[in-house]
């Protein structure tokens, strides 16, 4: 079976989840979308060739367990506990966010042709999909007022970076990938605790209320 033929639809699906992340206004949907991204990414280290060494299989499993199961679980648990408003008010509306995302996608497509990509390293569409995911994450972090949505943005950016590194994971050492995953996991865990405290102290997870510290 030609694995490359499977890869392109996956990347297109990833790009679509990004656009959906940018236009949706319900936190619950955002969490499901980020879980879908995690599930797609778990397949990324399998390409471009179909042979599967043990360490790669381990990595794929770890990615699926953390990105597609653990993160969404942590996030939805936080969401349930804090009893927050399920609707999010962005600084930047859905239309403008989507336009920014599409702008990011076009820029990534253009950039791919400008950079001397080592032949055979990136599967088709991987480069623009990864870069668009990073852009989407950064847009979410910057333009959303809700602390939980900012964490989801951080995760999306991290997903994009992970996808970038996926073709290199065949040559890299698996412990390093795993410790990076562990770091991000602990990071999200700590952020979850912080959100819990923010909700208790400020009675909201709206970062607009952070206005004491400034010069």
């Amino acid at each position: 079976m030609n694995v490359a033929a499977l890869f392109e639809p996956l990347m297109i699906a990833l790009i679509l989840t990004n656009l959906a992340l940018l236009v949706t206004s319900r936190t619950g949907v955002l969490i499901r979308l980020i879980a879908a991204q995690g599930a797609i990414l778990a397949f990324a280290p399998l390409f471009p060739s179909s042979n599967l060494p043990v360490h790669l299989a381990l990595l794929c499993l770890a990615v699926f367990a953390i990105k597609a199961v653990a993160f969404p679980y942590l996030l939805s648990r936080t969401l349930r506990r804090i009893d927050a408003d399920p609707l999010i008010e962005p600084y930047l509306g859905a239309n403008l966010s989507a336009a920014a995302g599409i702008g990011g996608l076009l820029f990534s497509l253009w950039l791919e042709h400008r950079l001397p990509v080592p032949p055979g390293l990136f599967a088709p569409l991987l480069f623009p999909a990864a870069l668009t995911t990073i852009f989407t994450g950064l847009i979410l972090v910057v333009t959303r007022k809700n602390a939980l949505t900012q964490v989801i943005g951080y995760l999306a950016a991290e997903n994009g970076i992970f996808l970038f590194g996926a073709p290199l994971s065949r040559q890299g050492s698996v412990w390093l990938e795993l410790s990076i995953l562990l770091d991000v996991f602990v990071g999200v865990f700590v952020m979850g605790i912080a959100i819990h405290h923010i909700n208790k102290t400020f009675e909201s997870i709206d970062v607009d209320r952070f206005c004491t510290l400034r010069d």
């Binding site: 890299g172 912080a194 952070f210 510290l213």
Partner: protein, 491 residues
């Protein structure tokens, strides 16, 4: 031995979590810090072998950073004994907003301090860029609970900003690492290592466009954590809201670790012949940082924020010293050591001031000379040291950086640096000296805390900074020269 350096703080952290009694836990903290410093110093006599298959490998550059971190951590942990004893348990009133708050449990605070030390040790003791990234991200996660020790609104705001801004920044540095692997990509190789030695061996195959993109990502990513302007927004908030001994560690040790990440990327640029590119960027960020710090220091009304902006200034100067290169790098390494010790001392002293006056305002704090004479003397000495006046170590380092700039024909950069330094000197001297002089405000009652734990650590740091200015031992010159050699030559 390198493994031991990492395991001592980790094991002590586990022990600190397990022990319920306060006094033995505080003893463990100081003992672990002392053991860590003893091992670090012993490593100068007998360079330790690489451990974990080359993953832990201490080179002269990392060793200098490790020594600065370890020294400061010992001072902070001795200070912590008195600080934690004075803090006590239970609810208290926030002096700024009047709301009631409590502190984080002391055992979690102590454990996080020790894990923080372990993460910084990993950063200093590795030449593998991947492991370095893991260490830097580890420092963020271990230090976030430290900033949120006083559980009130402002510290929570500072913690959230720190956590989110630094995590996104460090994610960019990870992207930089990946771009670096792309630059060194070899389809025929079975495995690629991110170890500096291995990368150096393949320097000739590296592709310049990817390398440049990687350096920009790493510089911006770790630059966020290092506090280079304009990515410094989290820094004044986190430094002003955390307990003073944590501020001392953030400023004197954590910022250095992020700088080490940038230096490692700079080393790769040197090895691949791109040093002109990285030096130019470091110079630009250095100058922007110094100018930004000068703008915010003038008229600053909060003395802990004042110290935080002073850190932005000194990080800028460090970036500048590497940006200029050549002889300035030696001065930069001396400056790094001097800044860690001086800023650590100043933040510890600011904790004593805060304990008596219960305000961070430079205007409401008056009459320190009468109310707390030792602290006032240390505060004045620390100000003179950080502003780069003789006879302190920072005078020597700033002088050697500036003279190297002029010798190498960077007169315009030297003039810009001097202007910023002069503005900062005046801007800092006004509030600092006003705090020392004048009458003690009648509202400030209570006894100044000037016991052994509050005074001895900053005093020891002050003595060291003074020594750096008056007399540089031959062995220290060798250490600094070798560290600077690594930066200049790339390996």
């Amino acid at each position: 031995m390198l493994l031991l350096l990492l395991l001592i703080p980790l094991a002590s952290a586990a022990l600190a979590l397990a022990i319920a009694a306060d006094t033995p836990r505080r003893l463990i903290l100081t003992l672990a810090a002392a053991a860590h410093l003893a091992l670090t110093v012993a490593a100068f006599a007998a360079p330790p072998a690489a451990a974990l298959g080359g993953l832990l490998d201490l080179d002269p550059l990392g060793h200098l950073f490790l020594a600065a971190t370890s020294l400061l951590f010992l001072a902070a942990s001795v200070y912590a004994v008195g600080y934690l004893r004075a803090e006590g348990k239970g609810q208290r009133r926030d002096f700024q907003e009047g709301a009631a708050f409590s502190n984080a449990p002391e055992r979690i605070f102590t454990a996080c301090l020790l894990v923080f030390l372990a993460a910084m040790t990993l950063v200093a003791c590795t030449r593998n860029l991947g492991a370095l990234w893991v260490g830097v991200e580890g420092t963020t996660l271990a230090s976030a609970p430290l900033i949120y020790f006083h559980r009130h609104r402002r510290s929570l705001e500072a913690t959230w900003k720190y956590l989110l801004i630094c995590s996104v920044g460090i994610a960019l540095a990870l992207l930089g690492n990946i771009l670096l692997s792309v630059a060194f990509y070899d389809p025929a190789a079975a495995s690629t290592s991110m170890n500096l030695t291995d990368l150096a061996a393949r320097a000739h195959v590296a592709q310049a466009p990817w390398l440049k993109a990687a350096f920009i990502c790493i510089l911006v990513g770790y630059g966020v954590k290092m506090g280079l302007a304009p990515m410094h927004n989290w820094l004044p908030d986190a430094h002003s809201q955390s307990p003073s001994l944590v501020s001392a560690l953030l400023s004197g040790a954590l910022l250095n670790c992020a700088f080490l990440g940038i230096l490692r990327a700079h080393q790769i640029c040197v090895l691949t012949g791109l040093e002109a590119f990285s030096q130019e960027l470091l110079t630009i960020f250095g100058l922007i940082s110094m100018a930004t710090a000068a703008a915010f220091i003038v008229g600053q009304g909060d003395y802990k924020r004042l110290l935080a902006y002073s850190s932005v200034e000194h990080m800028g100067l460090l970036a500048l010293s590497v940006g200029v290169g050549g002889g300035a790098v030696f001065g930069g390494m001396l400056h790094l050591l001097g800044h860690s010790l001086t800023k650590g001392m100043l933040f510890l002293v600011s904790g004593n001031i805060l304990a008596l006056y219960r305000t961070r305002s430079c205007h409401d704090t008056r009459g320190m000379a009468r109310a707390m004479p030792i602290t006032a003397a240390l505060w004045t000495a620390g100000f003179l040291a950080i502003a780069g006046s003789p006879p302190f170590g920072l005078f020597v380092s700033e002088f050697s950086v500036l003279s190297a700039m002029i010798r190498q024909g960077h007169t315009a950069i030297a003039c810009a640096t001097l202007t910023s330094l002069a503005v900062i000197f005046v801007g800092m001297s006004v509030p600092v000296l006003r705090m020392v002089q004048g009458p003690r405000p009648p509202a400030v009652t209570g006894e100044a805390r000037e016991d052994f734990f509050a005074v001895a650590p900053p005093l020891a740091l002050c003595a060291l900074v003074l020594m750096l200015g008056l007399y540089l031992p031959e062995s220290l010159i060798v250490i600094l020269t070798r560290a600077a050699g690594v930066v200049v030559k790339g390996l």
